[in-house]
């Protein structure tokens, strides 16, 4: 670990990895709760358009990605609410538009090659510059501040939008806030794991933590721990074994998930033997209740 720190680029990479490991699982927990686990993927694709725009105009790609991803997130939220498009279709539109725009713009950029595209698709943490670190650091502080200030409202929103409305909460504002926060998180994580795997760091640590936890708070805490473990462990392993860092980080997180599934199963069996009702598998609830009869929106 010491020799790792001798390299300037590795020190920067490790800082980026810590920020990513810390921030992504927190926002990820809210997205999973809201059943928008793939939102990060959609925004990631849009961020690629932003990156290409940055390369084309010789601006910092991280900054342009932040702007374009934010706009994309707001747009998706509006498409979801205003038009008769369901959440998953709105996401799909975002996927296609983002990736097509990115590929088109990179093709227009003089000097940009397939290697440039690949480095943003799959991450290139070793090329993180000092300016990137400052931007990523500022974004991380921003995201954590938003979640600290609005956490309680976002919990209610992600739990049950209708209840949030009946509490008088500003549902549209909170939805857009969450989407924008997710967009900024995507940009933070983009340099480390690439836009195609960005969402993995939001979702996989949360999926692993869910296996071991009974409470929302503990899930967030565990997810952050798993996120940090995966990003730092993955980066170190990649350095010593000369592997692709982004892919190593994601595969390590998936390995932790597999371990968590086994350990969670054993824990459930142990508590069941002690006569405590077991943690149920999956997210299914009781089946003997009346189905919801939500007919959708009322047209004004």
């Amino acid at each position: 670990m010491i020799e790792l720190l001798q390299y300037e680029f590795m020190r920067r990479a490790l800082i980026a990895a810590v920020l990513v490991g810390l921030v992504t699982p927190v926002i990820g927990t809210f997205l999973v709760q809201r059943r928008l686990a793939l939102l990060g993927d959609g925004i990631g694709h849009v961020a690629l358009t932003g990156v290409a725009l940055g390369l084309l105009t010789s601006t910092s790609p991280v900054l342009t990605a932040a702007v374009v991803a934010t706009l994309g997130a707001v747009l998706m939220e509006l498409v979801r609410v205003r038009t008769r498009t369901s959440g998953d279709v709105a996401l799909a539109l975002l996927f296609y538009g983002g990736i097509a725009g990115g590929v088109l713009l990179i093709g227009l950029t003089p000097g940009a090659s397939n290697a440039t595209l690949t480095s943003f698709l799959f991450g290139s943490v070793s090329t993180v510059g000092e300016q990137d670190i400052w931007i990523v650091g500022a974004l991380a502080v921003g995201v954590l501040t938003v979640l600290a200030v609005f956490g309680r409202e976002l919990f209610v929103l992600c739990q049950d939008e209708e209840v949030a409305r009946a509490h008088g909460l500003p549902v549209r504002f909170l939805s857009i806030l969450l989407a924008v926060t997710a967009a900024l998180t995507v940009v933070i994580a983009m340099r480390v794991v690439g836009v195609l795997m960005v969402s993995a760091l939001m979702i996989v640590p949360v999926a692993a933590a869910q296996q071991l936890s009974r409470s929302f708070r503990v899930t967030v805490g565990l997810a952050v721990l798993i996120g940090l473990l995966s990003s730092l462990g993955g980066l170190t392993t990649a350095f010593y074994s000369d592997l692709a860092p982004g892919a190593t980080i994601v595969l390590l997180a998936l390995a932790v998930y597999c371990v968590a599934v086994v350990v969670g199963g054993l824990l459930r069996r142990a508590t069941a033997r002690r006569g405590v009702p077991p943690l149920p598998q999956g997210t299914g609830g009781p089946t003997d209740t009346m189905p919801q009869t939500d007919r959708g929106r009322v047209t004004p």
Binding site: Q33, R35, R152, E162, H167, S215, T289, M290, P300
Partner: protein, 275 residues
């Protein structure tokens, strides 16, 4: 177990009605669902909204909370038009849900405490009073010993009680509950009926959307029956034989053939024989 809620702040006879619904119209995709509903619910009353599926009772309840917009008409909450109403801490909403939890695990206590979202300040830790309110809400639905458990570990009826406790935790004085008895076993139904009866005794306003009166018959002092988005009965709760058996009931049969044995209004407890 009797919890003291500081609700029912305005029980004076001069207090404006908890809900005042004036000529409310609403439509889904141009199909009218509410067709001129007028209902006034004074403070401190326990009122049931009854009617068959598709009668508009759930839409009326959602419109009362601003969840669905009206196409015309007006709704006033505690004297204030809904659009300008800001005192949301007075309202406790119990939605009809399959489960009380979300996709991420949460403890019973976390869910119940989230009901205080309208009264808690940002970035503040729960005060002693907040914690006491959560404890009392849990006790009121008899789930005090399950506070630390994951909501997913509870039965459907217990989860329904969690949803009621969540509404109680904000210490509102006006409750709106959507079919709180749906899919709940007999024991849990009794526990729920007791909790609602205590709310009534404390002077709270309780509006219940119900498919049937069931064990709540005792606690309800007024019933509004909707059919095709119109009020067809407003007064004493109909007996279990159905509203159609009441004298003076304006009979609007939803089916064309009155001799059709299947054509009974669904306020007759067809769902009563659930396991």
């Amino acid at each position: 177990m009797s919890a003291q809620f500081d609700g029912a702040r305005s029980t004076s006879p001069d207090a404006p009605a908890a809900f005042q619904i004036i000529d409310a119209h609403a439509a889904y995709d141009g199909v009218p669902v509410l067709d001129g509903v007028d209902v006034e619910i004074p403070v401190g009353r326990t009122l049931a909204v009854l009617g068959p599926n598709g009668s508009g009772k759930s839409t009326l309840m959602r419109a009362m909370l601003g969840i669905v917009p009206l196409t015309s008409g007006e709704i006033r909450v505690h004297g204030t038009p809904l659009k300008r109403f800001r005192d949301w801490r007075r309202i406790g909403y119990v939605p009809q849900r399959l489960t009380a939890g979300g996709a991420v695990p949460a403890t019973v206590r976390e869910i119940v405490a989230s009901g205080q979202v309208a009264r808690r300040r940002r970035l503040s830790l729960p005060t002693r009073a907040d914690r006491v309110a959560v404890d009392e809400a849990l006790a009121a639905v008899d789930l005090g010993d399950r506070a630390g458990d994951s909501v997913r570990e509870l039965s459907g009826g217990q989860q329904q009680r969690v949803l009621i406790a969540r509404a109680l935790a904000g210490r509102p004085d006006t409750f709106v509950m959507d079919e709180p008895m749906a899919g709940v076993d007999a024991d849990n139904q009794r526990a729920l009926a007791e909790a609602i009866s205590r709310l009534r005794d404390q002077g709270s306003t309780v509006v219940l959307v119900l498919h049937e009166l069931g064990p709540l018959e005792e606690v309800i002092d007024r019933a509004v029956v909707l059919e095709h988005g119109r009020v067809v009965h407003d007064g004493a709760p109909p007996k279990a034989t159905g509203a159609c058996a009441r004298p003076g009931h304006e009979h609007q049969h939803p089916h064309p053939d009155p001799n059709d044995p299947d054509a009974h209004p669904e306020i007759i407890p067809t769902r009563g024989a659930r396991p």
